[in-house]
């Protein structure tokens, strides 16, 4: 009985990849565990091992093919004449299938290339399309070239080239003195980084994800965030803590938390959470030069998305400034990070129904640019805040409070929130989808504040 070999996913967020090399040819007999192919994504290279036994009867995808979708058949395996239906006797588990069958990514697909441009850049500036991943890498490389006190430290940032390939190539350029692989010891290396900053260096500390930084949160808040104040202004702590924040896909409760409001709560820290590549680059460069501790919240799902970035020598985006991504008159939609994609899609859908939405990307969460939000609400009189984090004490809660405090008389409807649901992130695909905010919820909330159905 022929068995299809499917394109496997290397990570929960991988959607497609390159079939780099076949290690088998038609007619080869293979057994489970044999390396049959190599596949590549922009993040990683991995060998594909056979899980079934049989003879390769055809290769469906030529080596070197890019953009092979996850779960697409790549080869066909002809079983032995008689399938070996031997009884397992309860000791050997059947080999798992190569990849999950379903699990379409719960995120709505995002616009791959944004049409919006950074308004601070002069008209006519040439643009180049790069991924958020490349933008972050360029930011670090440029700042490391500029200042020898800047170094990168974290798990797998060096030889492995970055768990999410943000630091790819940096070890080659800057060497092991400045691109430092740490043991798995978040509390320790976060504190060590703070000490190095006290000692006059400018560390970039990468957390493989912010979920792991809970081990280090004492050093981030108590040592990095409070020392300037406690020292009467003597002891600054110029450090960037960065890494992916929030839900990736199908990684469940302990790997899916959004820490935006946790860190935005703390005086002494700056917190940024960009969506677009230009902001990722410009804000990271600003963060590295900032004399304060900066919490830089990235998003794994966004890493591979491409956007236009102005081709300028030194792109700096100031921390603490929101951006009106799209002007509108009827309702203000506010968001940050990955949920900007939902907001932009919702705005497009609303436009088709004659509703003009003003879209604001907060970009920075501390300081929070409430002036831009309040000015917009004074114009539209209605606001919906969208974020992936939990609703209780969230960024959306703060936005709502600020708007009520500063623009109460301008509001024609109570501020509305679209957030992640107030539950630990479930694993099951359908439940995860329910737990995350979606475009329909944003559209519904916008219509609700407009009293339209």
């Amino acid at each position: 009985m022929p068995t299809e070999i499917l394109m496997p996913a290397l990570s929960p967020t991988m959607e497609e990849g390159k079939l780099a090399k076949w290690h088998v040819k038609v007619g080869d007999k293979i057994s489970s565990g044999d390396v049959i192919a190599e596949i590549e994504t922009d993040k990683a290279t991995m060998e594909v091992e056979a899980v079934d036994e049989g003879v390769v009867s055809s290769l469906l995808v030529e080596e070197g093919t890019e953009g092979v979708k996850v779960n697409a058949p790549i080869a066909i395996l002809q079983g032995e004449d008689e399938p070996k239906a031997k009884s397992n006797g309860g000791t050997t588990a059947p080999a798992p299938k190569p990849a999950a069958k379903t699990s379409a990514p719960p995120q709505m697909s995002a616009p791959q290339t944004a049409t919006v441009r950074e308004p601070t850049v002069a008209a006519g500036t040439p643009m180049v399309t790069i991924t958020v991943r490349e933008a972050l890498r360029e930011a670090m490389a440029e700042e490391m070239r500029r200042d020898p006190a800047v170094f990168l430290m974290g798990e797998e940032v060096g030889q492995y080239q970055g768990a999410y390939k943000i630091s790819q190539g940096l070890l080659d350029e800057f060497g092991p003195k400045r691109v430092i692989d740490t043991p798995i010891t978040e509390h320790g290396f976060a504190g060590l980084g703070v000490g190095a900053a006290f000692g006059g260096l400018r560390p970039i500390v990468e957390f493989m994800t912010w979920n792991f930084a809970m081990q280090a949160i004492d050093q981030i808040i108590n040592s990095a965030g409070k020392t300037l104040y406690m020292s009467g202004g003597q002891m600054g702590c110029p450090i960037v803590f960065r890494g992916p924040n929030g839900a990736a896909a199908r990684v469940a409760a302990q790997h899916s938390q959004n820490y935006a409001s946790w860190y935005a709560h703390v005086p002494g820290l700056k917190v940024v959470a960009p969506y677009f590549a230009a902001d990722a680059k410009g804000l990271l460069k600003a963060a590295i030069r900032d004399p304060n501790p900066v919490i830089f919240l990235e998003n794994e799902i966004v890493y591979g998305r491409s956007f236009e970035v102005p081709k300028v020598d030194d792109l700096i985006v100031p921390i603490g400034k929101a951006r009106v991504v799209q002007e509108g008159t009827d309702v203000t939609l506010v968001s940050y990070s990955v949920t900007m994609a939902l907001v932009l899609q919702a705005a497009e859908a609303l436009a088709k129904e004659g509703i003009s939405a003003e879209v604001i990307d907060l970009r920075s969460l501390r300081p929070l640019d409430t002036a831009t939000v309040v000015a917009s609400v004074k114009k539209t009189n209605r606001i919906v805040t969208v974020e992936e984090g939990w609703p209780i004490c969230g960024i959306a809660s703060e936005i709502a409070t600020q708007v009520i405090e500063q623009a109460f008389d301008y509001l024609d409807a109570p501020p509305a929130r679209v957030t992640g649901k107030d539950v630990p992130m479930p694993y099951a695909a359908n439940l995860e989808k329910l737990a995350l905010p979606n475009v329909d919820e944003v559209i519904a909330a916008a219509k609700a504040v407009l009293y339209r159905s």
Partner: protein, 335 residues
Amino acid sequence: MAKAEAASRASSPAKTKSNKDELVRYYRDMLLIRRFEEKAGQLYGMGLIGGFCHLYIGQEAVVVGMQAAIGEGDQVITAYRDHGHMLACGMDPAGVMAELTGRSGGLSRGKGGSMHMFSREKNFFGGHGIVGAQVPLGTGLAFSNKYRGNDRVCLTYFGDGAANQGQVYESFNMAELWKLPVIYIIENNQYAMGTSVQRSSAETHLHKRGASFNIPGEQVDGMDVLAVKTAGDKAVKWCRDGNGPIILEMKTYRYRGHSMSDPAKYRTREEVDHVRETSDPIDHVRKLLLDAKFASEEELKEIDKDIRSVVNHAAEFAQTSPEPDPSELWTDIIH
């Protein structure tokens, strides 16, 4: 009596040949800490110092001996029992005392308090209130020395209580892995708040705690400033020669409670008195000075008088310096 090895001195202090000036300096420096802390305790009792106040009385030989072993540009970091370290680093006693009283003349302008003071000028990096948190920080300071390629070392102090914190071992691992010039000084005063080392630690010989990281450790009589200095000299050389970290376990004793509000039910008065009578670090140097005829009773009295005047001036300043201006509430949050 659950005596916690209280009075037992660590094994044979290697006697350093010390000259008169050196011994007199140790005497002065230790006495300054002792009198300063006694005064702080007094001001606390008068309600002039708030919050927590952890006194260093009994442990003076540790910081004074270690400070004598380091040089210009070497760094010091410790936890919250930090007044002695600051005075040993040469920070202004009046500024320290005014910080204890929460005044604008304090070293953190009244915003840090007893546990949180710093001096860039004197390379003192705090003053940290979370048990063990200063250990990765000190390791990071050592990292910055190595990164810059200078030969400076960082003295990273912590107590027997902190020696059970996980981040200490995370730091040990990286320090040895990267051969960072850090001297981990465990001030084993034998009680983590009210819990003796025997009741908290599976391995009570804390200098052995680096063994699984290949970090050498040595137990030192922390009541003998000369033994401390000798061990400090060796450890500093070890670090400057590029050998990585080293651990010095200072067997010492605090005479006062963990903080001012300590009921001291976990040890007997006799235990404390016994240490004071047999092992006091200041009496020890005083005797050396007198026996060697390096100083007369009169000369020592003169030093006592000087010290009292410094401390009285500090206390005076700490009470007359104004409270911080209300506008200070909003400064120094971010640069």
